[in-house]
Amino acid sequence: MRTSRALAALVSAAFIFAACATAASPTPEPTVAPTAPPTVAPTAAPTASPVDWQACMVSDTGGIDDHAFNENAWKGLQDAQAKLGIEIKFLESRDESDFEKNINQFLSEGCEMIVTVGFLLGDATKVGAEANPDVRFAIVDFAYDPAIPNVEGLVYATNEAAMLAGYASAAWSKTHVLGTFGGINIGGPVTDFMDGLVAGAHYYDKTTGSKTTVLGWDPVTKTGSFTGDFASIDNGKTLSLGFLDENADVILGVGGQIGQGAFAAIEERGVTGVGLGVDVDWYVSVPQYKSLILTSILKKIDISVTAAVEHAFKGEPALPVYVSTLANGGVDLGPFHDYDSQISAETKAALEDLKAKIISGEVKVSDYFAAP
């Protein structure tokens, strides 16, 4: 047992030396996305002098240029590099069997920190972290209970940002009916958005005295509309058609691309309506539907990743859970883009006010689950 482990260490060390000798660039060539090389070199050079400390990222499936999760997390590493002068690199996971393989490769390459992107990597990260207590890990969208001492779980209080979106949606809606659906009713990562939307609409009703109906989710009973998976745009479209038929004109679909079903539904019925983006600014990432996107609920993964890398780099102990909030800028409401002119200055001021109140703790999202 002991000899085999020693042998493994020796072999992996040999590989590392071999890699150092042959590889000119610190990033493995074949997996580098087209955008990566130019940004790596120039940002590293002018700021801090290179430090022999590597932060390595294992992506979720979907590619490093997915305009979402992975790309955003990679930006977080790039920012950390610019700030701290560390070395960064990534490996793309093509499917779920790559998770453990990629983590092991980085372990053998001697990464000081490994960032895994997405809750699907939860099991693989746990295995890697428990076997290598000296290596620091951070995982996006996941936290362990009980916590693993060398893992920082990055989670997002998306309900706060979604509450702002709910307020804006209720203000924009002509029919005073909103609709929301999720992928699978698995709690937090999905339903926080839906909770927030409902709470925002209720807050709008309370402060303006109007009456807004939110279809598809009841934050009190935790029941609502779900597509049953995170892929079926068709099911998302089906539910969206239902919302439109029941007079909704703002639709929030939470769970990967299923939310895009709303746009297909709006086009098919030929009615006036908009959808809300989730995680990233869909105006940028789903440009074919940009004329139908009111705003997006942003999860700023880059900010939390940079923070986690900084914690690790400075030798601070890993926080069991690092929560991104409106207060620390880790979640936010996106820009209105084409709809900016349709949101009144009054509404914008109210949004700023609500944001400040959520940050100060004066307004709690869960206080607005029930209709006023």
Partner: protein
């Protein structure tokens, strides 16, 4: 089954009597549910509103909403179901039992919707529109199946053909920037899979179920593989334009029928044409007579000089084209991008619709509407926040498929030579 061999007459009679009794009790059960379960907790003055005018409709046509008193409606439903159940138990409906069963179920479903919409408004027209939308790919699948089976070849591969059609439509449509090209390409790929099935089933006399299953697995594998390896990285290959909705002037303004059948896109109208063509072709032309002869009694057809194998080849390839084009609906007609396994068993439901529709095009369409309705209702119930878990509701369309196929299928007859390879002597 084995007992029937021993004393066919007596057993069948007793079986029929028992079936009649079960159906009668079923009606009474529906009546009891409507009267006691659904009415509980509803205020006597509560009403259920069914909207018949499409939301956001820009047409001048205005139909008032259908408002019914909830409790009274539910008692009426219960009374009707109970009445039917009593007659069923006392003297039965003879050969019309299936029609009566359909009526009873329809009445009960109306009662159920009334319960779901108590104190609320439910867009009935939206459900009906969605029914047609959901029935569309199922009907394409059913038509593909019946083209093949009428000639005596079982096509289990419809699911795979739909999936490949969806994939090809999206990729070719995006790459060329032209939907029509995507649609044609989907038809070609469907034809290719049809040819593969035909060669395996006719030339090599392979078990047709296994040949079809192999094609399904192949289709799911190849489209899934290319979708994760290529489409995720090159999204521009998966962003086709959707075919626009083309409301037909005048016809689309007819209340209820207009929004359902005359406000669709090119796929809906193509489907109507296809149903008409296949119906006419199968039952009123020499081609159809020959196809049916090959499917019923290939040896007899052969002796009068019909090219049995040629007819089968032609029909299976035609079936492949229909399924390929129908599959393109998922991407070019509905959502606008391909997702792994997006057909979600619609090809198999199509097979069920073909059987339920007794291997006729019009029957298959009506059967597809039943399945589409189940799909549409489940989606609507979750929106109205009914006290049923969403996981259960998602199951409903498949549940309906099982019940229908298991319950009614014994009454319809497949082409006699269905699934049997033909060998010249």
């Amino acid at each position: 089954m084995t007992a029937a061999v021993a004393a066919p007459g007596a057993i069948v009679d007793r079986g029929a009597v028992r079936r009649q009794r079960i159906i009668g009790i079923f009606y009474l059960l529906l009546a009891a549910i409507a009267a006691f379960v659904l009415t509980s907790g509803i205020a006597p003055e509560a009403t259920s509103t069914f909207a018949l005018k499409p939301a956001g409709s820009k047409t001048g046509l205005d139909i008032p909403n259908l408002v019914v008193p909830s409790v009274v409606t539910l008692y009426a439903v219960a009374a009707l179901c109970g009445f039917l159940g009593a007659i069923q138990l006392v003297r039965g409906f003879g050969t019309r039992w299936a029609v009566v069963l359909g009526i009873a179920v329809a009445v009960f479903v109306f009662g159920f919707l009334t319960w779901a919409a108590v104190g609320k408004s439910m867009s009935l027209i939206g459900i009906l529109q969605l029914t047609v939308v959901k029935a569309l790919p199922i009907t394409f699948g059913a038509l593909s199946g019946l083209l093949c089976e009428r000639a005596g070849v079982v096509n289990i591969a419809i699911e795979g053909m739909l999936l490949t059609g969806a994939f090809t439509g999206a990729v070719v449509g995006s790459a060329t920037g032209n939907n029509i090209v995507g649609l044609v390409a989907a038809g070609f790929v469907g034809a290719a899979l049809g040819t593969l099935l035909a060669v395996l089933a006719i030339r090599y006399r392979m078990d047709q179920i296994i040949a079809g299953t192999v094609i399904n697995i192949f289709a799911a594998g190849i489209t899934g593989f290319v979708s994760t390896r290529v489409l995720q990285l090159h999204r521009e290959l998966n962003e086709p334009q959707r075919f626009p909705q083309i409301p037909i002037p005048v016809l689309s303004e007819i209340p209820i029928i207009g929004p359902m059948f005359f406000s669709g896109n090119i796929f809906l109208y193509a489907l109507f044409v296809l149903i008409g063509l296949i119906h006419y072709g199968l039952f009123y032309t020499r081609w159809g007579l020959r196809v049916r002869a090959v499917g019923e009694h290939p040896r007899a057809a052969d002796t009068v000089g019909i090219n049995v194998l040629g007819t089968r080849y032609r029909n299976v390839i035609l079936g492949g084209i229909v399924a390929g084009v129908g599959g393109a609906y998922f991407t070019l007609g509905s959502t606008g991008s391909f997702v792994q396994d997006m057909t979600a068993g619609r090809g198999f439901i199509g097979l069920a619709a073909m059987i339920f529709g007794a291997w006729t095009p019009v029957g298959a369409f009506l059967a597809s509407l039943v399945f589409g309705f189940a799909d549409a209702v489940q989606a609507r119930l979750s929106i109205l926040n009914i006290a049923l878990p969403s996981e259960f509701l998602l199951m409903v369309p498949y549940l309906v498929t099982i019940v229908v196929v298991a319950g009614l299928v014994g009454r319809v007859r497949a082409p006699a030579a269905d699934g049997r390879p033909y060998e010249k002597e």
